[in-house]
């Protein structure tokens, strides 16, 4: 469900579960983590490009699996946190092609991107508080990505924002007209970055990581622990189960 290839010094890593809106399963997220680690330590990969096949970049964790398998959510949270850390600390720039939508865990992945490309009508956000899940797991990554004020706003407001608004708040750095324009723009940016001296890019990324503290594990670990602390709570189990409950017609109050 993850494919990796290198062309002209650009290592493209694709989420290949387009028929399920690239919903993340533990094994899939582990392969992504593996490919990101391999790329980060490979000098032949001058740029990492993360993209998703199908209609949207990534719709987040596979909630059906979270509902059916109690071990899925903790595994997904731990791998998600690791993916964002690897991307933020990778020596080469990470470009993300976030077409169509990036929701919940999919939106969290964007915090690993140095250059995030989206389209005007894409939907991006963290609706997970409604499910009794805390987006805390990526708080450190999101604060480094968009600043503390916008991170607070996006984590506590469960409504999605458009690609255009994502550009305004800094969640995305380029916004093109349609989903089909996203990958060509991301490839163009990746090619430009691949032509720049890698040692200068690596030194600059390392400096920025030390300034925004993403080189430290403590804030990431703290957020991961907060999200983990809610796993299996009554509120979470009830709300996740309700996603598949048969809707019953509500009676008007007497």
């Amino acid at each position: 469900m993850i494919r990796s290839e290198t062309r002209d010094h650009v290592r493209s890593i694709s989420l290949c579960r387009g028929e399920k809106r690239n919903a993340l399963q533990p094994a899939m997220l582990d392969s992504l983590l593996h490919e990101l680690r391999v790329a980060a330590s490979d000098p032949a990969a001058r740029v990492v490009l993360l993209l998703g096949e199908g209609e949207v970049f990534c719709s987040g964790f596979d909630m059906k699996l979270v509902h059916n398998d109690a071990a899925a959510l903790p595994a997904l949270l731990a791998s998600l946190s690791a993916c964002v850390r690897v991307m933020r600390r990778a020596p080469q720039p990470v470009v993300i092609a976030a077409h169509g939508g990036a929701i919940a865990g999919g939106c969290a992945l964007l915090s690993g991107g140095d250059m995030v490309v989206t389209d005007e009508h894409a939907k991006l956000g963290y609706p997970v508080l409604r499910l009794g899940i805390s987006p805390a797991v990526n708080a450190a990554g999101l604060i480094a990505h968009v600043g503390a004020g916008i991170a607070r706003e996006r984590m506590l407001d469960t409504s999605a924002i458009t690609g255009r608004d994502a550009l305004r708040v800094g969640l995305a750095h380029r916004c093109v007209a349609t989903p089909a324009d996203v990958l060509p723009e991301a490839l163009r940016i990746a090619a430009e970055l691949a032509a720049k001296p890698p040692h200068a890019l690596a030194a600059t990324k390392a400096l920025l990581a030390s300034i925004d503290r993403v080189d430290a594990d403590e804030p990431f670990d703290h957020g991961l622990a907060v999200s983990m602390s809610l796993v299996g709570s009554d509120q979470q189990r009830e709300r996740v189960a309700a996603l598949w409950a048969t809707p019953t017609p509500t009676k008007p109050a007497p």
Partner: protein
Amino acid sequence: MSLATLTIDARVARLTINRPEQRNALSLDLLNALHARVDELRTRDVSLCVITGEGKAFCAGMDLKAVLGNPAGSLELLTLLAELTYKIRTLECITLGVVNGAAIGGGCGIVTVCDLAITFAHNTMGFPEVDLGVCPAVVAPWLVRKIGPGRARSVLLAGGLMDGTQARDIGIVSSLVEHHADLHEASERMIAHLSASAPNAIRATKSLLNTLDGSLDRELLLRAAKLSADVLNTPTTQAMLRAKLGA
């Protein structure tokens, strides 16, 4: 009628600044009333606290007229504001500012301390403190956390006012409607949406955010209140305020 009212319905609390005849300007009495309501709210289990102003203004800022020539009163006023912002920030629920009208100086500071805020395009907001010879010290830490140090610097040093669109564009408010007439419906929609989140997840997330972004630094706020009072009590500022306020 109290200077600040608190109503709680289901999981939504509504805190209203209620001194409309003075555009909800923050006097000692009003700040004490707000403290009492927020203290009461802290004992209640809610998911969302909506903060708004009665009448045409959200809050016109500090009521400085009453503390002119009174250094102890100035320090008390600013310390009460500092403590109030800390109390609002450390509520375990989501806070939403429904900015129904002008939000100036300390009033805009209350908007800034909220997690989320909604207003309309042609509203009047901002931090004109420096124009009056006043230092916006108490709001500064909140504004830095909200919009980043670079933007906060440009806003606080430039003084003056901005409209709702500008406040949204730089990140002081999170949502915007075009007209004042649209605000009620849009904010009620937002309230219904926000209050549907799981209470334990809200609590855990807020507590983490407050820890990670430095919001728990109460000492900084108290130092800021002292600095602001010191500047307020300089003869130059006192003279400027007397001229401005006609006192």
